[in-house]
């Protein structure tokens, strides 16, 4: 009997190539729709000199000069963006935490129904929902009537077209982004650890403070980021529910791009905003120190 030795194939070369091959579509996507646009944005933002703005001139602006100029001339919308987003994030957190807690621990067989209800608003358009808020807060709406009956407002006043309305709209629109990560981190908590806490002399409040809250922190961090970032960049709420003195940076960029056609300024503003958001997120994550929890 003769032994035939099968030729040893080299599977290594194929195996090494495979992950890169799988990465390729994603990489191409990111390069085409993220990297190139960003570079284009940076390039556009120095197309003209913003300080001595003259659409007919061919003079290009300096890199830092233009960013500084864009920031300096729009400090108020920048500040409003972050303040409104922060307020909306805090309100959403206060509403979403008890909601997510209830769904995770108390809902029993209604859990899935409630989760669907949390996501249900996404079935209608974002703009439509925001316009609906205009009706809800408007003078014919239930909120106004309630406040009227409580003598907190008069017929002459209005609650739409105000900073409060913008913040209310933002907190409402991004509530599911807060609720879902909170739910998933609360749902992962072993109820026996809560029983163990009670067993070890902690009352309900201490159990929440020492066990539930720390264990849900990853959800708090994820939820606040998912709410804060899009809320800060949003312009629909300020457009529909606000007034000229509540413009956020998104509105300014929108106007510069679509109405004034000052692409240089719009691009510079976008870039400055992006850098600020990245800065805030990095600072927040480093302070929250969640890497030990996940």
């Amino acid at each position: 009997m003769t032994l035939t030795v099968a030729p040893v194939k080299k599977p290594r070369s194929r195996k090494i190539g495979m992950p890169y091959l799988l990465l390729l579509p994603g990489m191409l996507w990111l390069i085409t729709f993220f990297l190139i646009p960003i570079l284009t944005l940076v390039k556009t933002s120095v197309n003209m000199d913003l300080k001595n703005y003259d659409p007919t001139s061919a003079a290009t602006g300096s890199f830092w000069g233009n960013f500084w100029e864009a920031f300096r001339t729009h400090e108020a919308p920048f500040a409003r963006s972050f303040i409104y987003a922060l307020a909306a994030t805090l309100i959403a957190l206060c509403i979403a935490y008890p909601l997510a807690y209830g769904i995770a621990f108390k809902a029993g067989r209604w859990k899935n129904v409630l989760l669907v209800l949390v996501v249900a608003p996404f079935f209608t358009s974002f703009i439509l929902r925001t316009i609906a808020w205009k009706q809800i807060l408007g003078q014919q709406g239930p909120v106004f009537h309630l406040l009227l009956n409580l003598h907190l407002v008069t017929y002459q006043s209005h609650i739409t077209a105000s900073a409060g309305a913008v913040i209310a709209g933002l907190s409402y629109n991004f509530l599911p982004f807060m609720t879902l990560p909170l739910y998933s981190s609360l749902e992962r908590i072993d109820p026996r650890t809560l029983e163990a806490s009670g067993d070890l002399y902690a009352n309900a409040f201490t159990t929440f403070r020492k066990v539930t809250l720390p264990l849900s922190l990853p959800g708090v961090v994820a939820g606040t980021l998912l709410t804060f970032i899009p809320a800060a960049g949003d312009y629909v709420n300020a457009e529909i529910l606000g007034n000229p003195s509540t413009t956020m940076i998104g509105n300014v960029i929108n106007a510069q791009f679509l109405r004034t056609s000052n692409y240089t300024l719009a691009a510079a503003l976008s870039f400055v905003f992006m850098v600020m958001i990245i800065g805030i997120v990095l600072f927040y994550i480093s302070r929250a120190g969640t890497e030990e929890l996940v």
Binding site: R192, T193, E195, A196, G198, L200, Y201, N203, P214
Partner: protein, 381 residues
């Protein structure tokens, strides 16, 4: 804090405790006294009410009726965090976000113990469970056995009047479980606390506990020392759940001094009166498989004997041989024989007789189900 969580001491007394969940009665009129300092086991199959009983003692459930006392302090409706009770949970329930040190210190800190004393007591108890070097780790970095010991440490550091253990070894593999059984028993002797241990594993209960209460369908079937339960079962359930028993339907036909004469399908045997639990003449005659002697049917030997058996199955296990013997009335009888006499095991199909020392047999109420506790699922997991 000068409440019951530190001051109450004494025996644990459950009086007429019932717990119903809707239509279902999990614990049915249970009364029980667990003496201070004992290692007590609640043993029973899945759904027998043992865990519910434990949770009522811990305060995680409230009894529908009845009272629970520790010494002179009533704890029936007391909030869990006020009770002089700590629990070692199934799967340990350690706090994943806290270090081992802080896990163990949790109870002490909640009771406002000073930092210096916390450090001292935590270190002491970590030494007791032989894991002081793991103080700064997180629970997920520990093995199952280590987590188990930390769960025990986290509970006993509080010096509760009662330590409750809810299937504490269920998640460990067999070898580690045996080792932890010995260790837990040692810790209990060392700290002198009352341990109440819930388990479905009869071997575990018998190894560790001074007193075992066998539970079935929300009631205590029988309570006693491991040896007492094994040697003197009072119900068919106990006879079958703790070890194995052969239970043969019979009738008391005569009495002779301190013995009853029992008719088993036409063959007469005797059983001691003090080992008989019967309502009337109908009895279940019981004998443990290892107490039986098996001989070829021609063999002549005085004493209690059943003849006419035929070996239907033989399993050779090394230290012993297990036989199944079919009796003339169709019942299969189990016999365990030590391989210590140099005689080769009998073969399948051999005609045999079974004999035993009369003191080893017992008799139970003949109206009980002879199969009770035979095929119960130890734990539905």
């Amino acid at each position: 804090m000068s409440d019951a969580s530190t001051s109450a001491k004494g025996d644990l007394k459950l009086t007429n405790v019932t717990k119903s969940f809707g239509e279902f009665t999990a614990v049915d009129n249970l009364s029980l006294v667990i003496p201070e300092g004992s290692f007590f086991a609640l043993l029973g199959p899945s759904g027998c009410g043992k865990t519910t009983t434990l949770r009522m003692i811990a305060g995680l459930e409230t009894p529908t009726t009845g009272t629970i006392f520790v010494g002179d302090t009533e704890i029936t409706d007391m909030r869990p965090y006020k009770r002089p009770v700590n629990t070692v949970f199934q799967n340990y329930a350690l706090f994943p976000h806290l270090s081992i040190f802080e896990n163990v210190a949790f109870g002490l800190r909640r009771r406002g113990v000073k930092d210096k004393d916390v450090t001292e007591q935590v270190e002491k108890v970590l030494n007791l469970v032989e894991l002081p070097h793991l103080a700064q780790r997180k629970p997920t970095q520990l093995s199952g056995g280590q987590q188990q010991r930390i769960a025990v440490a986290r509970a006993i550091v509080n010096r509760p009047a009662l330590l409750l253990l809810d299937e504490p070894l269920g998640a460990l593999d067999l070898k580690l479980r045996r080792q932890m059984q010995i260790e837990l028993k040692w810790i209990q002797t060392e700290v002198g606390l009352t341990f109440v241990h819930v388990t479905h594993d009869q071997e575990e209960a018998m190894t560790m506990a001074d007193t075992i209460a066998v539970m079935n369908e929300g009631r205590i079937e029988q309570m006693g020392s491991p040896a007492d339960l094994y040697d003197n079962p009072k119900t068919a359930f106990v006879a079958n759940f703790l070890g194995q028993s052969n239970l043969i339907q019979g009738k008391i036909v005569d009495s002779d001094g301190d013995s009853h004469v029992v008719d088993l399908y036409g063959q007469k045997v005797s059983v001691l009166k003090r080992r008989t639990v019967a309502k009337d003449s109908s009895v279940l005659f019981g004998i443990r498989p290892e107490k039986l002697r098996i001989q070829p049917d021609s063999h002549d030997k005085p004493g209690n004997v059943l003849i006419g058996g035929k070996i239907s199955d033989v399993s050779y296990i090394g230290v012993s041989t297990q036989y199944q013997v079919e009796m003339p009335w169709g019942q299969e009888i189990m016999v365990f024989e030590q391989n210590d006499d140099g005689i080769p095991p009998l073969d399948k199909g051999d005609e045999v007789r079974l004999s035993w020392e009369p003191i080893f047999s017992f008799a139970l109420n003949g109206h009980e189900d002879a199969q009770a506790g035979v095929d119960v699922e130890p734990e539905a997991e």
